[in-house]
């Protein structure tokens, strides 16, 4: 009893000291310090576009929300199970593909995006590829049950990777790349144009639930800067003008041009071709019997 009491007093002292510090008052016996503005949430995982990695129950996203895989999803799950060794570790490799299957199943927007016929008309996919969907908690539990791994294993993967949306986004998830190669080509001007046109700030969803705008890190299309990814598609070579047209066309279900929004063809520069003007020279294959050790 004696030691418990003294422990209690010690804790009270510490708590009082902390209270003083967080209120900006100097701890007793030390010179006055400026108020500590240390953010509790300084770790990188929390600073990500997804916000908190803690699950908060919302209507439609609780442990008890029913979730079932559709027959098409079941076929995909079966296919992914075949790719990895049939061991407990191998089955854990399936967590990532299964999370993608869940997102593909819950993608509402894919059918409305019509790709304009163009040289690369095969940019369009028949089926949603997953970036327009999200992963509810119940789905994570379903995956854990299916694979026989712990739920925490699925939570870890789902919170580590930025593309698994743990909250429902708008129908069109606009992911704007603002890393330096895009930034110096005007990515923040594009962001300002989108924010002005949609009336939201980065990280928010429009009131009609159509568009969510997030800033993401390098998307790997740097020679076509600036660019955005909307659900599964890349829209590149944007200007503040053509991005507004693009968003309106997406909203109205009109045909959109995927890839570069100007006359560029893939990663070929706007000034045109500078190499590969003819066939490769020399013999395509040498005499393979002459290969030395």
């Amino acid at each position: 009893p004696g030691s418990t009491l003294s422990r209690w007093f010690a804790m009270l002292h510490v708590v009082r000291g902390l209270a003083r510090v967080s209120a900006g008052i100097a701890p007793r016996g030390r010179a006055l310090m400026p108020p500590m503005t240390r953010a509790l949430r300084a770790t990188p995982a929390l600073a990500a576009g997804q916000g908190s990695h803690i699950h908060r129950d919302e209507p439609g996203n609780t442990e008890d929300t029913p979730f079932e895989f559709t027959p098409e999803s079941e076929k995909k799950l079966e296919m992914y199970l075949q790719r990895y060794p049939d061991t407990p570790q191998g089955r854990m490799s399936c967590i990532m593909p299964f999370l993608w299957v869940v997102q593909q199943q819950l993608d509402q927007a894919h059918a409305t995006i019509k790709a304009k016929p163009s040289m690369d008309s095969y940019y369009a996919f028949d089926a949603p590829q997953g970036s327009g969907g999200w992963v509810p908690l119940a789905a994570m539990h379903a995956i854990a049950d299916r694979l026989g791994c712990s739920r925490m294993a699925v939570y870890e993967v789902a919170t580590f990777f930025t593309m698994y949306n743990r909250k429902r986004n708008g129908k069109f998830h606009i992911q704007l790349c603002a890393t330096t190669p895009c930034m110096v080509c005007g990515a923040y001007d594009i962001m300002a144009a989108i924010e002005k046109h949609l009336g939201i700030k980065c990280g928010e969803t429009t009131p009609d639930g159509l568009f969510t705008l997030t800033e993401v890190e390098c998307l790997g299309a740097c020679v076509n800067a600036p660019m955005i990814q909307v659900n599964d598609y890349f829209f590149e070579d944007l200007t503040p003008a053509n991005v507004v047209t693009l968003l309106d066309n997406l909203r109205d279900g009109k045909p959109v041009k995927i890839g570069p929004q100007n006359e560029r063809v893939n990663s070929l520069g706007p000034q045109g071709r500078t190499s590969l003007f003819g066939e490769p020279r020399g013999p395509y294959c040498r005499d393979l019997s002459q290969v030395a050790d």
């Binding site: 990532m96 940019y123 930034m183 080509c185 790997g220 740097c222 190499s275 020399g282 040498r286």
Partner: protein
């Protein structure tokens, strides 16, 4: 593609690796480690565990967009390369880890893999050579750290993509604990051509120890941003003038160039005037070739803000496993945010440099180095700009 692949596979692992060694191919994923040597690290007499080739198609380095070109336009080059490189390293299967954002490229690769299986080029008795070789595609989920080889292996195994300590090296204990080699897409995709045309042909491009061709992705303030395959050791000026229409506003409007993706230090114009684009020359110049993702900045750029945005990138992409990187990248980001506005003290420039030295080399993986180098490059090359901004802010003129 797939021309006489059976004959190449039948040459056997030793001849394939010898040819790649002769070609002088160096890893195209950023580190530039000699590929023939790397592939020869795989165990040769292992019978109890399967061996794997893992292709690193997680192209997340800012400025890099070369692997997507190979994957979406020439997927069969990659698949044939998987088979040949896999034969060279005595692998039983290959996993291609593609980043989650490359949705179209993944779809193209899935289709190409299905085509290759249907034509008997992969799978059981690949190309009729008697070797069974499977290729599987695995989609990532949006994490730069999964481009690090052990981070990639962790992610492939279904865990969070936090890198492992090396040793043990992946060639001894990699994917699922089996001998694995992780290679970049470009390195693997060029191996069939090396086998067909000869290692000496490949070594004929570029200077000694820097042989072959490289896909350069030039972005930023050029008139013709483009992805182009060029010979190694081409001079930077020739690369920009010949393929990119020159720097916006003329060569004298150049402020600096990041020659190899954001992880290498920026080079000021004085260095850019006569530097050659290859591994050794750029290392001597204080930078590095990395992934040959050339980002060009002209004089209109706010260079402090540009590198400041990179610190945001590294702070965001840090996996959080080891303290120097997790805390250091966040700390550098906060200091850079203030320096962009000029709200700093002059001593803090040296402090920032010291922080970056404390991060570099003290981390589990190379993301710490990659985060430290841009800041060091900025301070080394553009310290006057930072100091000018600080002094202006202190004088109330900003």
């Amino acid at each position: 593609d797939w021309y006489r692949t059976k004959d190449i596979v039948l040459l056997g692992p030793d001849k394939i690796v010898a040819e790649v060694k002769r070609s002088g191919l160096r890893g195209r994923g950023g580190a530039g480690f000699p590929s023939g040597l790397k592939w020869s690290f795989m165990p040769k007499n292992n019978t109890d565990k399967p061996q794997y080739l893992v292709v690193n198609a997680d192209e997340s380095e800012p400025g890099t967009c070369k692997d997507r070109e190979i994957m979406r336009h020439d997927p069969h080059k990659l698949l044939e390369g998987c088979l040949i490189a896999g034969t060279g390293m005595r692998a039983d299967a290959a996993y291609i880890y593609i980043r989650g954002e490359f949705v179209y490229e993944a779809a193209v690769l899935e289709k190409a893999i299905a085509e290759a299986y249907a034509a008997g080029l992969l799978g059981k008795n690949a190309c009729g050579s008697g070797k069974d070789f499977d290729v599987y595609l695995h989609r990532g989920g949006g994490a730069y750290i999964c481009g690090e080889e052990t981070g990639l292996l962790e992610s492939l195994e279904g865990k969070t993509g936090k890198p492992r300590l090396k040793p043990p090296f992946p060639a001894n204990a990699g994917l699922y604990g089996c001998p694995t080699t992780v290679t970049n897409v470009e390195t693997v995709a060029v191996s069939p051509t090396i086998m067909r045309r000869g290692g000496d042909w490949f070594a004929g491009f570029g200077r000694k120890n820097n042989s072959g061709t490289k896909l350069f992705c030039i972005s930023g303030h050029v008139n013709n941003p483009i992805t182009v395959e060029e010979e190694m050791s081409i001079s930077l000026r020739e690369l920009l003038e010949k393929h990119c229409g020159g720097v916006r506003g003329g060569w004298d409007n150049l402020l600096g160039v990041i020659p190899g993706g954001s992880s290498v230090p920026i080079m000021p114009k004085a260095t850019c005037d006569d530097v050659l684009m290859d591994f050794d020359a750029l290392k001597e110049a204080g930078s590095g070739l990395g992934t040959a993702a050339v980002t060009v900045f002209d004089k209109s750029t706010d260079i402090v803000a540009a590198i400041g945005r990179l610190t945001h990138f590294y702070a965001h992409e840090s996996c959080g496993q080891c303290t120097p990187c997790r805390e250091g990248t966040t700390w550098m980001r906060k200091i850079m945010d203030r320096m962009v506005k000029g709200e700093a003290k002059l001593e803090e420039v040296d402090m920032l440099m010291e922080i970056s030295y404390q991060i570099e080399g003290h981390t589990i993986c190379a993301l710490g180095d990659a985060a430290a180098w841009p800041v060091q490059g900025l301070i080394r090359a553009f310290r006057p700009q930072i100091e000018e901004r600080i002094m202006k802010a202190q004088a109330g003129k900003l």
